[in-house]
Amino acid sequence: MQIVVGVADMKISSQPQQLVVTHALGSCIGVAVYDPMVKVGGLLHYMLPESSLDEEKGRQNPCMFADTGIPLLFRECYKLGAVKHRMRVKVAGGSQVLGGPEHFNIGRRNYAALRKIFLKNNVLIDNEDVGGTKARTLYLEIATGKVWVKIIGQNQVIKDL
């Protein structure tokens, strides 16, 4: 059964029959975390790096921003029995348009914000597929913890993370 994660949205699951998916990441970032011991996983799709942009919105929907969404993603997984040091972390998205990287760089800022939070909290990224100009759809299979990315294009390239 597919569970769709929208923009600025998050789903946590321990239901083995569920496939959690987020469609068409542009400059947004998708973070998939999974604890193989308890088979608990979560997928976050955030839009922007920092909630300081609009703290009210950040309170209403923490999943809008990296700095409010990522901690929530981990906390919600802990509630279902996941333990931080066992968690696998995979990241996809953060695409950019062509041209000067110092402008239109929300994709890169989104990625930088995630790295900063992970460094501070000693979280390692196990695998990632970020940057470039591709549109990506990100999948997390709760039964196995398998994570893959579909590159939107004619051949629908699939890449395991």
Partner: protein, 294 residues
């Protein structure tokens, strides 16, 4: 071998621009539009009138009263909003064929086009520009060339993508190299055949800012920027992904900083949810439901 003759031949079978939308386009340039003029445009098309009422009552406009008539819609929403709704309802049919060269999902182009139109409105608001249905319409129609070019892009997709990847150029530039014509030019040609107002036609032709003429009208820059932001937001992205060029001079021109862009994206997130009613104009099967874009 250039496909240009073939592409141009396919224009011979171009369907006419829907009449209601055509007549609404003519009203775009008028400073004052009377209720009667708007009623005259839509009165012979009950489907469009029904759509107008449906959209007027949607979350997107957030009106507290239920609207039962065209007159009421006009009073509460104003001419410009009503023109947008009429044009969107009228133009839907043009987007009904799938465009597999660009989108794996049947309604992909329609959804991207509506998104871009909404983004033009939000950007206009951020920049305190007067709200004009012209901007929305240009956003809605900017990629209309893809309707015709899709067939050819589909045949040559791998060659086009190879140029994008090896030469680092935009998807549009690669179309031009491989097909001899790109979707913006194509759209401009269609706009000419349909007798679109000049500003609208030029916004379609130059929306990727690949010619100096693009800089003659803020409308073109606005549509360009809205398109780029729509791609960044993701959702309904096509096979061309984000392979278009970001020009920082456009941000400077509008005195837009990155924070402003982030703010616009933030607002777009909510507007996009509320605007699902526009996406649903295409038909019930994928309808208002969030379509599978995988």
């Amino acid at each position: 071998m250039s496909l240009v003759p073939q592409v141009l031949r396919s224009l011979k079978n171009l369907p006419p621009f829907p009449m209601v939308a055509q007549r609404a386009l003519l009203l775009l340039n008028k400073p004052e539009v009377s209720i009667q003029e708007l009623v005259d445009v839509v009165k012979f098309d009950p489907a469009i009138t029904a759509n107008i009422l449906r959209i007027s009552n949607s979350a997107y406009f957030g009106l507290r009263r239920e609207i039962h008539s065209l007159h009421q819609a006009l009073l509460l929403l104003g001419t410009q909003e009503l023109l947008k709704i009429i044009i969107a309802s009228g133009a839907t049919r043009l987007f009904s064929a799938p465009t597999p060269g660009y989108f794996t999902e049947r309604q992909g182009l329609w959804r991207h086009s509506v998104s871009c139109a909404l983004m033009v409105d939000l950007l206009g608001r951020e920049l305190s520009l007067p709200d004009q249905a012209t901007g929305f319409t240009a956003g809605l129609m900017h990629d209309i060339g893809k309707v015709v070019l899709s067939l050819f892009v589909e045949q040559k997709f791998h060659e086009i993508m190879e140029v994008v990847e090896q030469q680092g150029v935009s998807f549009q530039a690669a179309e031009k190299i491989i097909l001899g014509v790109d979707h913006a030019e194509m759209g401009g040609e269609m706009a000419r055949m349909w007798d679109f107002p000049d500003r609208l036609r030029l916004a379609i032709t130059y929306h990727h800012l690949d010619k100096p003429e693009a800089y003659t009208d803020d409308l073109i820059l606005l549509v360009y920027l809205a398109d780029i932001l729509t791609l960044m937001f993701g959702q309904d992205l096509g096979t061309d992904g984000l392979a278009y060029t970001g020009y920082p001079e456009v941000l400077r021109h509008f005195h837009l900083r990155e924070k402003s862009l982030q703010r616009v994206l933030l607002q777009f997130g909510s507007a996009w949810d509320e605007a699902q009613i526009f996406f649903g104009l295409m038909g019930k099967q994928d309808g208002v439901q969030r379509a599978n874009r995988g």
